[in-house]
Symmetry: none
Subunit: 176 residues, 2 copies
Amino acid sequence: MKTIEIDDELYHYIASQTQHIGESASSILRRLLKCETTTVPSMVVANVASQTSIKLPATSLLSLIHHSNYIDEKKTVNRFLMLLSALYQENSSRFSLAATSLHGSKRRYLATDEKSLIDTGNNTKPKAIPDTPYWVVTNNNSARKSYILKTIMDNMELSPSIITTVLDNFIAKAGE
Amino acid sequence: MKTIEIDDELYHYIASQTQHIGESASSILRRLLKCETTTVPSMVVANVASQTSIKLPATSLLSLIHHSNYIDEKKTVNRFLMLLSALYQENSSRFSLAATSLHGSKRRYLATDEKSLIDTGNNTKPKAIPDTPYWVVTNNNSARKSYILKTIMDNMELSPSIITTVLDNFIAKAGE
DNA sequence: GATTGGATCGCGGGGATGCTTT
DNA sequence: TCAAAGCATCCCCGCGATCCAA
């Protein structure tokens, strides 16, 4: 362990990015420094929010689909996970609400633990949604992934135009 | 001013991102936390070069292997391509020199066109090195990929300690 | 016999397709 | 019986260790 000194403003910013009670500074920083990767969203939102103090809905989503990490990703699952992660960053409580009410006839689609996804189906192939307490079912086709995204976005009450943009983009990339 | 505790590895990573002698932790962190950009390797080199006008050898290489895009990448080929790309950014003329003199008994390993790699072997699976005019042969084991990296780095006359660091890291990740 | 290099083929992940259920 | 929705088997393809050739 090492100690570093940082100014108050920066300190508060970092502290505000805590995702788990008692999370260490190292853990928070590692996540934030990953921002060049997938997690742009949370940063972007945080920055925009602190600068404008106006809520700009779906900022992280829209920036994600224009971000090279997303654009260059050719596996549908990975884009799926990125979008879910961004949705969670967008509004974690609405996301949670949307998540719990979503399921198929047998399968649960989202949960905060791997096991309940494994237990409600065969070969569901659950994957953790990055920077999120959630897991998603993954063994399904692109149409269903799209459906899961749509349902969550609808429940989160994002604007219809944004939902359309995101889905059209997702489907277009999936079918090639 | 506030004090935070972080683990050693993270500390060294942050320290390695210093751009001005005596730069404060806050300053470094603010810069890193804004880096929503992506293309760190080439970016880093360009920035460092223009700001300091001192040649800092292998900066892009070392930052690459601490970068989440590299760390999180589990496919050896992709890390291989990233490293080659960083090496080219480092010094394209030395890279070119090193590239042309490198081959196996039948196969050419690097070329500026796909065809000559296909033609000098069966199933060579050439891949383009990102942000580079070069292609590499890919259908080989990790030991050979490592050998290719080593040979190029040696020919580019990077410092032995850097070469060791990069290779140890590459091999460690490959063997898991 | 040992070493170096080539490239076949085994393994694992992704997700479309086809079967099952409602 | 037909249609629609949902599940999960199974095919395909990329990676790269292993084995074969030089």
